[in-house]
């Protein structure tokens, strides 16, 4: 078996993930390399979910009975865990949403309805990049359409990095918000936050970071990032589906208007007018994803018990190995950085002129789960003149043996269609 420095003890870890034992297609061992789409969940998270429903389930806040108090303590306890995980200055800066997409839409909508100095309107500009996930493109397109603001973006270099050469023309005095991805889900690229934040601060623009592919894989420190908003999603970091996070700076959350209206987010309601609770509740309308927050808290405990720096080192070693092995496959073209530096553990590629659908399907027949398509980042495919890619992506339980299986699988694909 391949030994790489910095790997986790995956043999032990994999026992925590029941699904990894699954066999598919009559006896093929599952090789799950679709972690950028969603991660698998450890027993510890599933147990936390079951325990919540079997012992504590109640609606949160304002209840005076035991279950309501326990459920509230668990839900708010999950908020504490998230705050600590991202080094938030205050727990009140952590807003629970349903997924990263809602988090990003929340930012866009707050700015659309905000008063000055935050208000996005026809005199102002919004900046994104060409490597964004659709969830960080469409909300801004909608905002631009609805307010008349101008949408601008950074292009990409041939080797899959942001082209910041024209940063002073892209981010200008008119820019109100710069929203970009920390680690790309299609290219794997890790972006240089500092340069962008510095320029944004120069012109007084807010910065929103889409950390959906970062939070699961590396230490995340919102204070070090110096961003104003950071969004991520629970299901990619060992947590349940149905839960996302938006972190925002307290002053902003105080100043900005609410988005969804309803129970929980109010201070006092009359038929004529309402006032709103302080953040984070102001942005959490209706019964929140209680069990899912508890599950995310358990996921964070799990990740912490391993250590985010160790997880990062593990994936970095795997990525280095994977890039090397993949480049041995004839006709392969990696879309994105071809080294493991400043990149995450999602690797997209094309294989000659074999269509990614066919690559994915034949890999699947061997039990290897990868994702094929435009990965909700179609502008990247357009940029590189390809219809789609095949993407393999790793997580803390991934192994060099699975990368070997992928490479063997690709050989089989080539022979099959050769």
């Amino acid at each position: 078996m391949t030994q790489l420095p910095g790997l986790l003890d995956t043999e032990a870890l994999r026992k925590d993930f029941p699904i990894l034992d699954r066999q598919v297609h009559d006896g093929q061992k599952l090789v799950y390399l679709d972690n950028a789409a969603t991660s698998q969940k450890p027993r510890q998270v599933l147990d936390a979910l079951s325990e919540y429903y079997e012992r504590y389930n109640a609606n949160v806040h304002r209840g005076v009975h035991v279950l309501a108090e326990e459920a509230t303590a668990l839900y708010e306890g999950a908020r504490d865990k998230v705050a600590e995980f991202i080094n938030a200055p205050s727990r009140d800066e952590v807003i629970f949403t349903k997924n990263a997409s809602e988090s990003l839409n929340l930012v866009a909508n707050m700015l659309g309805w905000a008063d000055e100095p935050y208000r996005v309107d026809s005199e102002t500009e919004i900046v994104i990049t060409e490597m964004e996930h659709h969830s960080n493109i469409v909300p801004w397109q909608l905002l631009a359409q609805r307010t008349g603001a101008k949408l601008k973006w950074f292009g990409l270099t041939d080797d899959g990095r942001l082209d910041l050469s024209n940063i002073d023309q892209v981010i200008t005095e008119k820019t109100k918000i710069v929203s970009f991805v920390l680690v790309s889900n299609i290219l794997g690229t890790q972006n240089p936050v500092e340069a962008i934040v510095r320029r944004a601060q120069e012109v007084g623009a807010l910065v929103c970071v889409d950390a959906s592919q970062a939070a699961p894989h590396m230490p995340l420190d919102v204070q070090a990032l110096q961003a104003d908003f950071v969004a991520f999603t629970g299901h990619k970091m060992c947590g349940p589906t149905g839960i996302g996070v938006l972190w925002g700076r307290q002053e902003l959350l105080e100043d900005l208007p609410p988005f969804l209206g309803g129970g929980e987010m109010i201070e006092t309601v009359s038929m004529h007018s309402s006032t709103y609770a302080p953040a984070p509740h102001k942005f959490e309308a209706g019964t929140p994803p209680i069990a899912q927050a508890v599950g995310l808290g358990a996921a964070i405990d799990y990740l912490n018990s391993i250590g985010m720096d160790k997880i990062f080192a593990h994936e970095h070693a795997l990525t280095e190995y994977a890039v090397k092995r993949l480049l041995e496959v004839p006709d392969i073209r990696i879309i994105g950085p071809t080294t493991a530096e400043e990149r995450g553990a999602a690797i997209s590629f094309t294989l000659g002129d074999i269509h990614p659908h066919d690559v994915g399907q034949v890999l699947d027949e061997q039990g290897i789960a990868v994702r094929v398509g435009h990965h909700c980042a179609r502008p990247v495919c357009l940029r590189y003149g390809i219809p789609a890619t095949t993407r393999a992506s790793f997580y803390l339980y991934s192994t060099p043996a699975e990368i070997d299986a992928l490479v063997d699988g690709l050989e089989h694909v080539r022979n099959f269609f050769g």
């Binding site: 806040h61 304002r62 209840g63 005076v64 309501a68 108090e69 509230t72 303590a73 201070e267 006092t268 609770a277 302080p278």
Partner: protein
């Protein structure tokens, strides 16, 4: 949580009713609708009277009664000390076992220790105290002048 002392104050409140004062405030706990109107009257830095009227649960009513009993006649600096100690106790989430020193300061108000275990009720217990702090700041200004909210 319903200590005898609390029930006593609830059923037989001290100093209830609005009397003459130097300042009046109205505080509301929006999550449960508890309300209090409270007036303070000072003679220099001596608290001459704290009068109040309101509606709410036994905890918020009894707490206002205890406040009246404890603070009237005291000097502001002593009153502040009591208020801060009470706040500390209420925010202790049931983890603070009042010691003799605390009992001496808080007198009847130590009976609220049990309430601190119930997050939903802590605000009820604090309602009148926050109102008093606010009203005092209006009369005497100073470090208390920042607006306090009981929300």
């Amino acid at each position: 949580m319903y200590q005898e002392v609390i029930l006593d104050h609830y059923k037989h409140p001290h100093g209830r009713g609005l009397r003459d004062g130097d300042a009046e405030v109205h505080h509301v706990n929006p999550t449960c609708g508890d309300e209090i109107t409270l007036r303070v009257k000072y003679d220099g830095t001596t608290i001459e009277d704290v009068s109040y009227e309101g509606q709410g649960c036994s905890i918020s009513q009894a707490s206002a009664s205890v406040l009246n009993e404890l603070l009237v006649g005291k000097d502001l600096s002593d009153a502040r000390k009591i208020q801060e100690t009470f706040l500390e106790l209420m925010q202790s989430k049931g983890k603070l076992e009042p010691d003799d020193a605390m009992e001496e300061i808080l007198e009847d108000a130590v009976a609220f220790a049990g309430v601190s275990k119930y997050p939903a009720r802590v605000k009820c217990a604090l309602l009148s105290w926050m109102a008093w702090k606010d009203a005092t700041a209006q009369v005497l200004g100073g470090a208390d002048a920042e607006k306090e909210t009981t929300a």
